[in-house]
Symmetry: C2
Subunit: 314 residues, 2 copies
């Protein structure tokens, strides 16, 4: 009997196991915490569905054949210097996660667009400050990172009435959203966007993508929604742009250090909304389908869904 081990936050592990057993009762799904330390136990593991595994742990499983990331991001895996990169690894694709991300991006852009960020931050003062928002159809949102999450977020924003465009490292196509790619495409797109939604993966290439130079190339007053990773933003540069007015506001879900330290200036900044890394969660009930699809593909020799290319970094 094939075995999969599952690690995730405590309240989700049982739901993952149920979601896998529902679809593949012939697979033994066990919490990583219950695996035990013996060589025999480690040798019994075929598949791993993991979130933030201890460094070296995956490398210690001699018969591991597949790694499935609980999240769409992979930095929780690449933090492990011993990560067995020769094994097939798949990113999470979950309709629930995709849905949550599009909700967050829509909410974040609307919060900026409707000029609600300073209102929300001063509500307790009881001051009635009427603000007039521009028309969404005259307002352009650029989605940086245009994979499964970015395209759905872009579609949700378009359905709300915004002009939407997208950018990705390599060229892509979309029926109704104009797309840009590469460095030239970014240079062309940036000055046209009132808001930017960050959904690019965290790779060495994207570390501090949003720095002083990037912000200076944006439209003055640009609003930033970061639902990707904290490493994408040079916080000092963003704070400086917010204070100078070059950036109009920011809705931030992810940070270099999480939890965001309670004395970080973002918490008190009138132009910033902080949310605690909740933009999108993977739901076992909907994500279980992808886990089982990856296992099925591996077992039957078909192409794996959302297979990671480590040369590319995602």
């Amino acid at each position: 009997m094939a075995k999969i081990i599952v690690s995730d936050s405590a309240d989700l592990v049982d739901r993952w196991i149920a979601a896998i057993k529902d679809r593949r009762p012939d697979i033994e799904a066990v919490p990583l915490a219950e695996l035990g330390d013996s060589d025999e136990a480690r040798a019994s593991v075929d598949y791993a569905l993991v979130w933030q595994p201890d460094p070296g742990f995956l490398a210690s499983l001699p018969n591991l054949k597949l790694i499935v990331s609980v999240g769409a991001g992979l930095d929780h895996l690449t933090n492990d210097p011993l990560l067995p990169r020769h094994l097939p690894t798949v990113r999470m694709v979950d309709p629930g996660l995709t849905q949550g991300m599009s909700e967050y991006c829509a909410w974040g852009v609307l919060s900026l667009h409707r000029l609600f960020v300073p209102l929300l931050n001063s509500q307790a003062s009881g001051a009635w400050q009427v603000v007039h928002a521009p028309i969404a159809s005259n307002t352009r949102v650029g989605v940086l990172g245009f994979g499964v999450l970015g395209s759905r977020a872009g579609e949700a924003l378009q359905a709300l009435g915004f002009q939407v465009c997208g950018w990705s490292r390599s060229a892509k196509q979309h029926d109704s959203i104009p797309l840009y790619s590469g460095d030239d495409g970014l240079a062309e797109m940036l000055p046209t966007c009132d808001y930017l939604v960050l959904l690019v993966p965290a790779t060495p290439d994207t570390f501090h993508l949003i720095d002083a130079d990037f912000l200076a190339r944006c439209k003055p007053g640009v609003g930033i929604v970061n639902a990707g990773r904290g490493s994408l933003i040079d916080d000092d540069a963003l704070l400086e742009a917010l204070d100078s007015g070059q950036a109009g506001g920011a809705v931030l879900d992810v940070f270099h250090q999480e939890p965001l330290p309670s004395d970080h200036p973002y918490w008190q900044h009138p132009k910033v909304i902080v949310t605690p890394h909740v933009a999108a969660l993977t739901y076992p009930e909907t994500g279980g389908e992808h886990v089982v699809a990856a296992i099925n593909a591996l077992e039957t020799g078909e192409p794996l869904p959302a297979l990671v290319n480590w040369d590319r970094g995602y």
Copy 2:
């Protein structure tokens, strides 16, 4: 030459006049404030595009043939006991206003659904409190009031992934949104909705529609978005429901008294977001089309768009 007088907030009057002149250069459009007090001046007015006219003013115009409300709501007119109800009056229908309202309703429901209301109200404390939202597709939003504004707001929420239903006083149809009507329909719908969006018109029938009895019939933890009028809600009943948990949160844009007094408990309530009556604004550039369409219809004897039925109250 026919004459229309225009009253609105100061920064908008010139934009209205330009929007009317663009479409009907043969009509003289003048700010109400510049009309003057003489009988001759009053007799020269054919049409009135107004926001909160002084009581008795419209009745003092002997040749007035048409009243156009700057807003979708009419309470700013019915506050005038001398309102000439025998004259045709049309509500505002403006794509910009419709768009703004759907944005606000989407934003308000997302703020409640993603459990962000308490987070936003405590951001300055710097506490990282992770909250897990349910899946939108398992979540039902009821839109109360299903005219032009309600149907578009419902469609925007549906595009975001929510289950959506609607209610109106009289029976209506929609391609993709199930609708309820009348008292029986309301009784059937209320217990099924996780969130309610209030867009019913302010009439004697809807005064304090949201009272203790109404809230007790809702699903426990119901979230309320009020983008209609402050008179729809019995504030004491809502505050009691918020404190008991029968209501989970509220996003409120309109109030019995505006500006909302700075000592009102809504401002400080952890489950309430207050916005300063900005859910939707009429944009002269887009709403001008409707003003001119109403004038054209009157002049050619065709049916007036969005004509008010004073027996019904809207």
